[in-house]
């Protein structure tokens, strides 16, 4: 893999692919309520985009793409997911029971926002944070970087 570092083809390929991948991951997050997808799948796809960024540019690139500590993402996601469970209880529903708002946006049509989305977003953040942590812990290997430099 290290021999591929700095390859123009790889870099161009990664740049082309990772943008759509991130967009797709957000699509999965929102589509997950009634269709295949959801926070877990979306987070994994975003994680793949991060891994690709690491393959192409090493830790430098990953740090530029996500200038946040992995722990913050993980912690925020976990907190959000847990709070979303309690939030529906305060709204008078059961734990984790999903409430929804329906309204129409001009030009788009009827939009339905479900409270389960907050839970899915939490999961998404946890998975992205985990992927980031993995890349940081396993990817910040000096021997690998030295190999790449040589």
């Amino acid at each position: 893999m290290s021999s591929l570092r700095g390859s123009a083809i790889l870099e161009a390929g990664v740049i082309t692919v990772s943008g759509p991948l991130l967009v797709f991951s957000v699509y999965l997050l929102f589509a997950g309520h009634n269709q295949p997808g959801g926070g877990f799948a979306g987070g994994l796809v975003a994680g793949i985009a991060l891994l690709l960024a690491w393959v192409a540019g090493g830790m430098e690139t990953v740090r530029r793409v996500v200038p946040i500590r992995a722990g913050v993402l993980l912690g925020f996601g976990l907190t959000l997911a847990a709070i979303s469970g309690f939030a529906s209880m305060f709204a008078g529903l059961g734990f984790l029971e999903s409430g929804y708002l329906e309204f129409s946006v001009p030009g788009v049509g009827k939009v339905k926002v479900v409270s389960a989305l907050a839970f899915d977003m939490g999961v998404y953040l946890v998975i992205v944070g985990m992927a980031l942590g993995l890349v940081r812990v396993l990817g910040e290997d000096e021997t690998l970087d030295a190999e790449a430099a040589s």
Binding site: G71, V72, G75, L78, T79, G85, L93, F95, S98
Partner: protein, 488 residues
């Protein structure tokens, strides 16, 4: 009160998220961890009270009715075990703060501890097989990381066997879940109990055996226990103490739950009684051969699991009540013994019996705390172990199962023998090496566990009544299914 049941899992998860979010602020992390576990304890007590008056607290997550949604059930049995477990989680957390505070080595300790708490709580209150898997995995993944807190080649080697064996067990568990879903079309425990009544008996016993193997590995019963005495003693004391007190007992809890609910029989199970006898005997023989406090105590975990399985093997109300009583007593006593072992290690710098001695004169308080716990483990009256053992023996004699009664009595005697070995090695004799006093918080935490174990003995009467009511629910699966499906 429907919010109370999910919150025993959700609050520790929330706390875990917050401890990561706030980063390296030790005081704040400790405050979050303590209040999270304390909340679970209060909730567990309230749930137990509710379960005892209504039969069980049931919650259907997301508002989907059973058997379609995720069901959480805290009946009397789950309530008892959850309450005792969280009490131990708090005591050990205080102990860990006093001990690890000195070198403040691990910023993620509280996060892992809270996830462990959530996993234990979920495994105890879950009402379906797949969430049981999730709960176990939360608990185990936290435990993998906790075991390697103090990393060195020895710890990693010991943890490797623990991780590999538990992964194999988890994979097997998934297979069992797949099989169960294939034959029954549901994973909700209450729904399964109904579906299994009309199932081909051969398929049912095959699934029962597979389930027994899966949780037998987790609970460390004979012959699936070899991973335990190897991996537990290498971890830091608070970690070992909580694993010893809780993890295997959650395995026993699930064995009792599944064997009574899904695979119930009308007569005592000779297979379970044989396993019980073999587990006790092999465990205690292993303990006698050891020469280190923590290793001796680790083998005793295995040995004591045998007594719980023995209570289950009788498959009667009195037998199960004795098993529940035994679990309650054992969680407290075992955690306490490991904490005492940790105190000795902290003061002397080693747990090897031949290198320490004379602690009775220098630190009598440790000896005072060790004595009731050790005698309780051996089942000497009037301590808590005696009550539980007496109940087991009475039921064994009533059912005319003389062999297992004789075996359990002999094992008690050997337990006492190996406790005297620790006593002689640690507290009597002379020592040459100077000792360092352990942190005050460690002693206080250990003392409160000892007090709780004396409390179990003191309130043995009401506890035995409660355990009998819990056992009566277990013996008749219709009670559980009625609570979950009917009352839902």
């Amino acid at each position: 009160m429907t919010w109370l049941l999910p919150s025993v899992v959700a609050v520790p998860v929330l706390g875990a998220g917050l401890t990561v979010l706030i980063g390296r602020r030790l005081r704040l992390q400790r405050a979050i961890a303590l209040s999270g576990v304390a909340f679970v304890l209060v909730a567990a007590v309230l749930l137990l009270i509710e379960a005892d008056s209504n039969g069980a607290a049931v919650a259907q997550l997301g508002g989907w009715p059973a058997p379609f949604g995720i069901t959480l059930v805290a009946d009397r049995f789950a309530g008892i075990v959850l309450t005792v477990s969280t009490a131990m989680l708090i005591a050990v957390l205080v102990y860990a703060m006093a001990q690890l505070g000195r070198d403040a080595l691990d910023w993620w300790f509280h996060t892992k501890y809270l996830i462990l708490t959530a996993g234990v709580a979920l495994s105890l209150v879950t009402g379906d097989l797949f969430n049981l898997f999730v709960g176990f995995e939360m608990m185990l993944i936290a435990s993998y990381v906790l075991l390697t807190v103090k990393t060195g080649p020895g710890e990693v080697r010991a943890t490797m066997s623990y991780v590999v064996i538990n992964l194999v067990a988890s994979a097997l568990f998934l297979v069992v879940i797949a099989f169960t879903y294939t034959v029954a079309g549901t994973l909700n425990l209450a729904d399964l109990a109904v579906a299994f009544q009309t199932l081909d008996p051969a398929v049912r016993s095959a699934l029962g055996l597979l389930t027994l193997v899966v949780f037998g590995i987790k609970a460390a019963i004979f012959p699936l226990f070899m991973w335990l005495p190897d991996s537990y003693p290498t971890a830091p004391t608070p970690v070992t103490a909580i694993f010893a007190g809780l993890l295997t007992k959650v395995g026993v809890f699930v064995i009792i739950r599944t064997q009574t609910l899904l695979f119930s029989q009308d007569e005592p199970s000779t297979l379970l009684l044989f396993i019980a006898g073999a587990t006790m005997t092999v465990g205690v023989l292993g303990a006698i051969a050891q020469n280190d406090i923590k290793r001796i105590l680790s083998f005793h975990i295995v040995s004591q699991i045998g007594y719980m399985v023995m209570g289950l093997g009788f498959l009667t109300v009195a037998g199960l009540a004795a098993a529940i009583l035994y679990i309650t007593h054992h969680i407290v006593v075992k955690t306490g013994l490991f904490l005492v072992g940790g105190l000795v290690e902290a003061e002397e710098g080693t747990g090897a019996l031949d290198r320490i001695g004379g602690l009775l004169h220098r630190r009598p308080i440790i000896a005072v705390m060790f004595l009731p716990l050790a005698l309780s483990l051996a089942g000497i009256p009037p301590f808590s172990g005696f009550v539980a053992k007496l109940a087991l023996l009475q039921e064994g004699l009533a059912l005319d199962r003389g062999i297992i009664v004789a075996v359990s009595l002999a094992v008690s005697l050997l337990t006492l023998f190996s406790m005297t070995k620790i006593w002689g090695g640690v507290f009597w004799g002379e020592t040459t090496e100077p000792s360092v006093p352990a942190a005050r918080g460690m002693t206080v935490a250990t003392g409160s566990v000892v007090a709780l174990s004396l409390g179990v003995a003191l309130f043995a009467g009401p506890l035995a009544d409660l355990a009998t009511r819990a056992a009566a629910d277990l013996v008749d699966p219709a009670v559980y299914t009625g609570l979950v499906l009917g009352g839902g």
